[in-house]
Assembly symmetry: C2
Homo-oligomer: 358 residues x 2
DNA sequence: CTGTTAGCGCATTCAT
DNA sequence: ATGAATGCGCTAACAG
C-alpha cells in the first residue's frame, strides 16, 4: 500500500476515489486520452477508445465535479428562493426545478428567503451571486418582493418569475393569464344566472390576488354589473383566516348567490361556513376556487376551480433561465425579458349550479 | 488590464471572482495568513486579523467551494431520495432537510427515485455514492424499498429512514410509534361506545399502513373485539381510489358506526361517500384520519386525526445522519442503528362523536 | 506569528 | 493521434 492512498483512506474513512489518472494508468495511456474519450472528442483511435471505456466502467470512475469546476468547466448554477410556507405550489416548484435542472445538467441551490425584510433578501441574493449562482428562480410571491426590493438598483443577473399575477418589469416570467382565467371563471357564474357574486380576495401584496380580483371586476363590468365593495372580503391565504372572512362576507351579504374565492383553501373556508350555517351548496350558493390544489377535489362538494400546472411552468422557467444565462454569458443579454403565458383550464365540479330562482 | 483577468471575463461574461490571493495582495500579507483569519485560527496577531477582515469585506471575498473541496476540506454531503408523488409529507421532508442541512453546513442533493425498479434504485444510490454523497436520507416509503433492495447486500454507508412504520433493520430511523398512535386513536373511538369500527387501510407495501392496521387490530383485541375481515378495505393513498374503497366498505357494512382511515386523504374519501349517501357525520358515523395534513382541517366536518411533525422529524434525521457520518469517517461506525421515537398527538376535531344509540 | 512549497483532479495549451 | 507541462483556488505541511 502506498503512502498516498493510505493517507487518503485514513483521513476520509472511505476508499479513495478513482481518478482520471488511475484510469489512465490502468489503461496504459495518458490522462489526456482518457479525458478525450470522456468528452467524446474525435481524436482518439477506436481501439483505444474502447479500451479506455472499459477501464472507466471497471473502475467505476466518476469525474470529480470540484476539480472540473476548478479547471474552468462552467456548469450553470441556479438559485431558487422560497418563502417559509409549505404549500402544494411551492412543493411543485421545488420538485419541478430539480427535475428540469438535473435533465439539463444544471445545479440548483434552494434557499429560504426572509420576506418582509429587504435587507436580508438583498444579502441572501448577493451571497448567492458571490458563491457562483448565475440565475434566479423566483416563485411568486418572492418574485414580487424581489422586484420591489431591487426596483431602483436592478439585479445584476438573470431571473425568472414563476407564476406571478402579471408580467414582471425587468424580469422574465412564466405564468398563466390569471386575470383572464378569473374573468372566464366568473363569467361562467354569470352564465348560470348569478348576479350577486361575492369575492373572497387574497392579500393585496400578492400580484396573483390582484390579478384574480381584476378578472372578477372585469367580468362583472362586462355584463354591466358594477362591482360593489360590500361583496368583497379580504383574507390571507390560510384556512382559519379564510373562515373568519367568509363569515363576515356571508353575514353581511346573505343575498349573494355565488362566491369566488381567490384560492382553493379560501374556497374550503367558504364551504366550512356554509356547512356551519346550513347553506346548501351549490343549490343556494355556488362556490368557486382557484389553483386546483388537492383540496379542491377532496372537499364536499368538490370545487369548480382553475387548473394550472405549476410543475410544467417551473420546467419552462428553468429552460428560459438557462437560455438567459447562456445569453448573459455570451455578453448578449438584452434587458427586455420574455413573458411566457401557459394555458389554464377551468375544471367544473360540483360546487356550482344555476342561481336559485330567488 | 492583464491578460488573465481579460480572459476570465471574456469566458464567463461576468467579473472574475475575487480570490484569496487577491485579498492577500490587497492586505499585503501572504495567502496563508488570510486563510488563517478565515478559519479563526489563533496564530494571527490581532492587528493583522483586523486588517485582513476589512479587506475581505471590502472586496466581498467568498471562498471557492470547489477549490476548498479539492484541497481536502470535506463537508458532509447527504443524498435525499423522494418518490414521484408530491404530497405535503414529502414537501416537509425536502424543506426540513434543506433547512437543517444549511444550518449545519451540509450539502444535500435531492433526487427522484424510481420505485418498483430495484435495478434503477441500486444505480441511483451507487451513483450518488460515487459522486461523494456520504449519507442517505430516506423518507418512507423509499426507506422500505431500499431496505428490501439491499437486504442481502447491505448499503455501504449510513442511512436514516424518515417516518417508516417500524424500526428498520440495519438502518437508523426517526419516526413516531404509529402502531401506538393508531391504538390510541381507535381506543378513543371505543371509549365513545363504538364497537363496529371499519378500517380503510393503505397499501400493504408501506410499513406505515401496516403499523396503523396493527394498532387498529390491537385496540379492538384489547377490548375483546375480534377484528373481522369484513370491516377492512384497502386502497392506495389517493382520493379517488379511496372513494371507491369507501363505497365498497360502507355498502358492504352499513352497520359500522366509525371508520378509521389510514390517512387524511382516505378519510376525506370516506366523507365524500357519506355526503353522497346522506350519512350524517359524526352523528351516524364517526370518521378519523391520520397525519393531520392540511386537508384534515379543511374538510367538513374537520377530522379527528393524529398529528406528527414531519418537518421536525426530518431535522432530527439530518442531525442523526450527521453524527453517523462523523462516526463512519472516524472508522468507529457501529452497525446497530438508532431508532428515535418522536411524540405524536391526537387532534380531536368535529368528525367524531359517541356511537349512535342503535 | 508569518511566509514558502506542494498538491488536490481535471482541462487545456503546446509539443511530438 | 497521443503525451507532457501548466494552472484553476485553496489548504496542509513545513520552514523561518
Amino acid at each position: 500500500m502506498n503512502t498516498r492512498s493510505a493517507k487518503r483512506e485514513a483521513s476520509t474513512g472511505r476508499p479513495p476515489r478513482v481518478t482520471l489518472k488511475d484510469v489512465a494508468k490502468a489503461a496504459g495511456v495518458s490522462m489526456m486520452t482518457v479525458s478525450n474519450v470522456l468528452h467524446d472528442r474525435p481524436n482518439v483511435s477506436a481501439a483505444l477508445r474502447e479500451l479506455v471505456q472499459r477501464r472507466i466502467e471497471e473502475l467505476g470512475y466518476v469525474p470529480n465535479r470540484a476539480a472540473q469546476q476548478l479547471a474552468g468547466v462552467t456548469r450553470p448554477h441556479f438559485g431558487l428562493l422560497y418563502a417559509s410556507v409549505i404549500n402544494p405550489f411551492i412543493a411543485s416548484v421545488i420538485v419541478g426545478s430539480l427535475t428540469a435542472a438535473s435533465r439539463l445538467g444544471i445545479d440548483v441551490t434552494i434557499e429560504l428567503a426572509e420576506l418582509d425584510d429587504p435587507k436580508s433578501l438583498r444579502s441572501t441574493i448577493s451571497r448567492m451571486r458571490d458563491t457562483g449562482v448565475d440565475g434566479l428562480l423566483l416563485p411568486s410571491p418572492i418574485a414580487e418582493f424581489v422586484e420591489r426590493t431591487f426596483r431602483k438598483k436592478p439585479l445584476k443577473f438573470p431571473a425568472v418569475a414563476i407564476a406571478p399575477g402579471f408580467s414582471m418589469p425587468g424580469m422574465a416570467s412564466v405564468r398563466v393569464d390569471e386575470e383572464g382565467a378569473a374573468f372566464e371563471l366568473v363569467s361562467s357564474l354569470l352564465d348560470l344566472g348569478h348576479t350577486r357574486i361575492g369575492h373572497l380576495a387574497g392579500p393585496e401584496t400578492q400580484s396573483g390576488s390582484f390579478a384574480r380580483h381584476e378578472g372578477y371586476r372585469a367580468a362583472l363590468l362586462a355584463r354591466g354589473i358594477e362591482p360593489c365593495a360590500e361583496h368583497l372580503e379580504r383574507s390571507r391565504f390560510n384556512f382559519q383566516d379564510g373562515v373568519e372572512a367568509a363569515e363576515r362576507l356571508l353575514a353581511r351579504e346573505p343575498r349573494v348567490t355565488a362566491v369566488f374565492a381567490a384560492n382553493d383553501t379560501l374556497a374550503a373556508s367558504v364551504l366550512a361556513v356554509t356547512h356551519r350555517r346550513g347553506i346548501a351548496v351549490p343549490r343556494s350558493l355556488s362556490v368557486v376556487g382557484y389553483d386546483d390544489s388537492p383540496v379542491a377535489e377532496q372537499v364536499w362538494p368538490a370545487l369548480t376551480t382553475v387548473h394550472q400546472d405549476a410543475f410544467a411552468a417551473t420546467e419552462r422557467a428553468v429552460e428560459m433561465l438557462n437560455a438567459s444565462v447562456a445569453a448573459w454569458r455570451a455578453g448578449s443579454f438584452t434587458g427586455p425579458a420574455e413573458d411566457l403565458l401557459l394555458p389554464y383550464r377551468i375544471v367544473h365540479r360540483a360546487s356550482t349550479a344555476p342561481a336559485p330562482a330567488d
